[in-house]
């Protein structure tokens, strides 16, 4: 009997402890006391969406170096497997009263991040420009936000305000198996028509690969194409002058791209891996020499080039092919930025800002570029790499930066900003898959997708309007 009572008591104690715990956490989080004055260490949590050794390792190394230089702070990196998971967990943590100070979030959800509010109706994130407030140095770390390259600046500036701190930024570029192209005697294609012609030659050879070109069925490549063609995806200048209320999926630019894509697939030139957003499968097909060309994110330039060499062929990077029937406007960026939590006390906020600026200082940004292929995010970092002679030894690494520099600062080339973008992207890739797998008619498919995409945007706007 005594044992039973003991068991019940244990359970009750645990329950009470659990309740007590959550109570205390809330108090701590809502407190605004200056902790550093008493010599305590301020914790800063950064949640990122990378779980691989290279990228997570970089973040952890930089956090450790920052902590060593600023012993009053302790930056902790927590890794998640996707942007969606980070955002969701952060919102749940916010309700629970212990959210991270810095959240890594991707470009397509920019509108949603700006719009997001907590249970009390306050914005979740604070604009980094506002938080920096014109300072050129925070805790001894120089502010680098003003030096961010123009493509990223154009994308992330909303109503004249830089909302979040750019970190990983890339563009869609093309990688070719130069040995395969040389064997077929074709030059690297620049336009859609060039791709068609080159593929005809490559596939005509006796030992031709099973396909000629591939890229992930990811909406980002569709958006890149719309930027090149100067086609708007949403009204109000792609949602840049005011909140987007109409999405235009069935535009002529979109139809042209889908038709080209469908014809490439039907003639056996495009290799579809059968899975949406299939980064791994398309990459594997390129490395296995099943295709001669791969349109991919520049984020993997370094590893793609190295792996190609390991597999015995020469990888050359080139700009993404474009539609030469319409005037060219430019490619846009992709990637993610670091968002600052709203409502932090001054000490924590300054620590977070100092870390963000340290994280992308010229040396760190250059290192980040070298190990991945994401573009060097500040002009100073670009200069540093040039001085080092990096681009002479790694010409592939320069393609993305050059491509972004060549883009016009027009609404189409800056990229769309709209609510529920992640779901609308899924509608686009589902439509493309329907076209590729079920051989659907381009116009019908895009008009169906238009209805679905507009509904998603309408619902989002209804939920976020005041």
């Amino acid at each position: 009997m005594a044992k039973r009572w003991l068991g019940i008591l244990t359970v009750l104690t645990l329950l009470l402890a659990a309740c007590g715990d959550s109570g205390t956490t809330t108090t701590v989080a809502s407190g605004t006391g200056d902790t550093s004055a008493s010599g305590e260490i301020t914790d800063i949590e950064m949640w990122i969406a990378f779980a691989d050794d290279t990228r997570l390792g970089f973040a952890e190394d930089k956090a450790a170096a920052f902590n060593a230089a600023h012993p009053e702070y302790n930056v902790v990196v927590q890794s998640f497997d996707s942007y969606n998971t980070v955002f969701e967990q952060a919102q749940l943590a916010l309700d629970g009263g212990n959210p991270p100070e810095i959240i890594h979030f991707f470009e397509a959800a920019t509108q949603e991040a700006i719009d997001a509010v907590d249970a009390a109706g306050d914005p979740i994130f604070k604009s980094v420009t506002a938080a920096i407030g014109g300072r050129t140095e925070i805790l001894g770390e120089p502010v680098v936000l003003d030096d961010v390259v123009s493509a990223a600046r154009n994308y992330y500036t909303i109503d004249g305000d830089f909302y979040s701190m750019p970190w990983n930024t890339s563009s869609a570029i093309m990688f070719v198996n130069q040995d395969m192209l040389d064997a077929a005697g074709v030059d690297i294609p620049e336009t859609w028509a060039d791709v068609d012609a080159a593929c005809d030659t490559i596939l005509a050879a006796a030992d031709a690969p099973s396909g000629c070109i591939t890229w992930p069925n990811h909406s980002w490549f569709i958006e890149q194409t719309l930027g090149q063609e100067g086609t708007l995806l949403a009204n109000n200048d792609n949602g840049r002058t005011a909140r987007a209320t109409e999405v235009n999926v069935a535009s002529d630019g979109m139809k042209a791209y889908f038709q080209w894509w469908k014809d490439l697939d039907a003639s056996g030139k495009y290799l579809y891996t059968g899975v949406q957003r299939d980064w791994d499968g398309t990459n594997a097909a390129f490395q296995a020499k099943e295709v001669a060309m791969l349109i991919y994110s520049s984020s993997d330039t370094t590893v793609l080039t190295e792996t190609g060499a390991e597999n015995g062929f020469n990888v050359v990077a080139a700009p993404m092919p474009y539609n030469s029937d319409v005037p060219f406007e430019g490619n846009l960026i992709g990637g993610a930025t670091l968002w600052l939590l709203n409502g932090l006390d001054t000490t924590t906020e300054d620590g977070a800002l100092a870390f963000m600026n340290y994280f992308s200082n010229p040396e760190n940004a250059a290192e980040w570029h070298k190990i991945t292929g994401y573009i060097p995010i500040t002009n100073a970092a670009v200069q540093l790499l040039k001085d080092e002679g990096w681009y002479e030894t790694s010409p592939n690494s320069l393609v993305a930066s050059d491509q972004l520099d060549a883009a016009a600062n027009t609404p189409a080339a800056r990229g769309a900003l709209l609510g529920n973008f992640v779901s609308i992207r899924d509608v686009l890739t589902a439509a493309a898959e329907n076209m590729l797998v079920n051989d659907g008619d381009v116009t019908t498919i895009l008009e169906e997708a238009q209805g679905e995409a507009q509904r998603l945007l309408d619902e989002y706007n209804a939920l976020f309007s005041n």
Partner: protein, 455 residues
């Protein structure tokens, strides 16, 4: 007007639910049933503020609203009549009093105290979320959004064909078929040709229901019909395949062979693998570029088709991975079940000259009834819920949504797309499907399965 119909339907359903209530003469019995039915319908209508009965919503919402009122009426009356039956039942009352005086001498609160931890867990992790799911399913709601919008039943009705007559007539037809077949079997005398025919035709009822549901769900690329079809095909394939192969392999592994212990252990291994890992394994094996299957076929100069681009192959691969995953579990239980097959009956049948197949068909299979029933439920649970992990790693619902089953769609819509209301509505639908299947299974198996012993 619609509200009135809803309440009347609720009352009617209540009266029907009371048809077997004990110790009451017909008239007051039906009246009492109607009262309970009315109460149930009224509570449900009140909870939704009667939003489904107005003229401002489309007529399918009216239809569904009436159907829900009817179901609530039936449920309320059935619950009421079963407590009535229990009270009138002498032995149960006696057992109760024995329990009361025999075990819990410390007081009435003692059992409740012992149950408290379980009850708290049930309430916090099961009942509250369940109620929230029902509430959320009538709203447009998004994580991080300041507003929510009440949408009444439109999260449900947009899954259906936009034609109220289809929504009314199709299920009624299928219920009529099932009911008619049941009545025919009941009326025919056992053993007669008519009875045998009725028994053979029983599956028609289920097929009628499945077909009716197929046409009730909205078609088109974004319609729910394709999800329904995927779910039926993949669940049926997984459950049937898993159980047939499970029994076959267990029967083989039950024979007396040297080293059988090793075989049995190896056969049960896949059970220790989690559902996502099963997905990853098949993903690697069937990978068109680097997979071992492609490699083997390359050896014969055959280009193995890419399952990621073929609708039927993709479904087949998902089924194969799921069958492989549940196989170990099924073998384990069938092996245990086979040890309980009465040896004397087998021996007698051998003496009577029964062939191996006849012994298997008429003695082994029937005595495995309870195990089969149990496995049916657990395998269905796998096929309806756990299969998410397998699909997410194997096909991610591709190609063109051909392997996106109900649970995969719920998570895609509710979690990935953050459309919590629609996700909740779809999970309510899955919840109803599982409840329906379970009730049907219990009913069907009651007269077929014997657990041994008396009766």
């Amino acid at each position: 007007m619609t509200l009135l119909i809803a309440l009347l339907v609720g009352a009617g359903a209540g009266a029907y639910g009371f048809r077997n209530a004990l110790r009451l003469r017909p008239q007051p019995r039906y009246l009492a049933g109607a009262a309970f039915g009315l109460l149930g319908a009224a509570v449900v209508s009140g909870a939704t503020k009667g939003c489904a009965y107005g003229t401002d919503v489309d007529s399918i919402q009216n239809v569904i609203g009436v159907a829900i009122a009817g179901a609530a009426g039936l449920a309320a009356a059935t619950a009421a009549s079963s407590t009535k039956a229990a009270r009138g039942d002498e032995p149960i009352a006696k057992q109760r009093s024995e329990l009361r005086t025999g075990t819990y001498r410390l007081g009435w609160w003692w059992p409740w105290l012992l149950l408290l931890p379980t009850l708290i867990i049930l309430v916090v992790f099961l009942y509250i979320p369940a109620v929230q799911t029902f509430t959320l399913s009538t709203m447009l709601v998004r994580l991080g959004a300041p507003n929510t919008i009440d949408v009444c039943l439109s999260n449900f009705t947009e899954l259906l064909v936009p034609n109220p007559w289809m929504v009314v007539v199709l299920p009624s037809l299928s219920v009529a078929v099932i009911w008619g077949l049941g009545l025919w079997k009941q009326r025919a005398s056992a053993g007669s040709a008519s009875y045998n025919l009725a028994t053979t035709l029983q599956p028609l009822g289920i097929m009628a229901l499945l077909t009716a549901l197929y046409f009730m769900f909205s078609g088109g690329t974004n319609g729910y019909r394709s999800i329904y079809l995927n779910t039926v095909v993949i669940s049926a394939g997984t459950v049937l395949g898993g159980m047939v192969f499970g029994l076959a392999i267990a029967y083989l592994a039950f024979q007396k062979v040297r080293g059988i212990g090793v075989y049995r252990t190896l056969l049960i291994w896949p059970y220790a693998v989690s559902a996502p890992v099963a997905g990853i394994l098949f993903f690697m094996m069937f990978d068109p570029t680097a997979g071992v299957i492609q490699h083997i076929f390359d050896g014969f100069g055959i280009d193995f088709p890419n399952y990621r681009e073929s609708v039927s192959l993709a479904r087949f691969t998902v089924i194969a991975a799921s069958v492989w995953k549940v196989l170990g579990y099924n073998i384990l239980f069938y092996l245990a079940g086979l040890q309980n097959v009465p040896i004397d009956q087998i021996e007698a049948s051998v003496l009577d000259g029964a062939s191996a197949w006849q012994r298997f068909r008429y003695i082994v299979t029937p005595s495995l009834g309870p195990i089969t029933f149990f496995l049916l439920i657990t395998n269905l649970t796998y096929a309806f819920f756990d299969i998410y992990g397998t699909i997410d790693y194997l096909t991610r619902g591709a190609p063109a949504g051909a392997t996106s089953v109900a649970i995969y769609e719920i998570i895609r819509v509710g979690v990935d797309n953050r459309d919590i209301g629609r996700g909740a509505a779809q999970s309510v639908l899955l919840f109803l499907a599982v409840i329906g299947l379970t009730i049907w299974q219990f009913r069907r198996s009651e007269d077929r399965i014997t657990y041994g012993g008396v009766g």
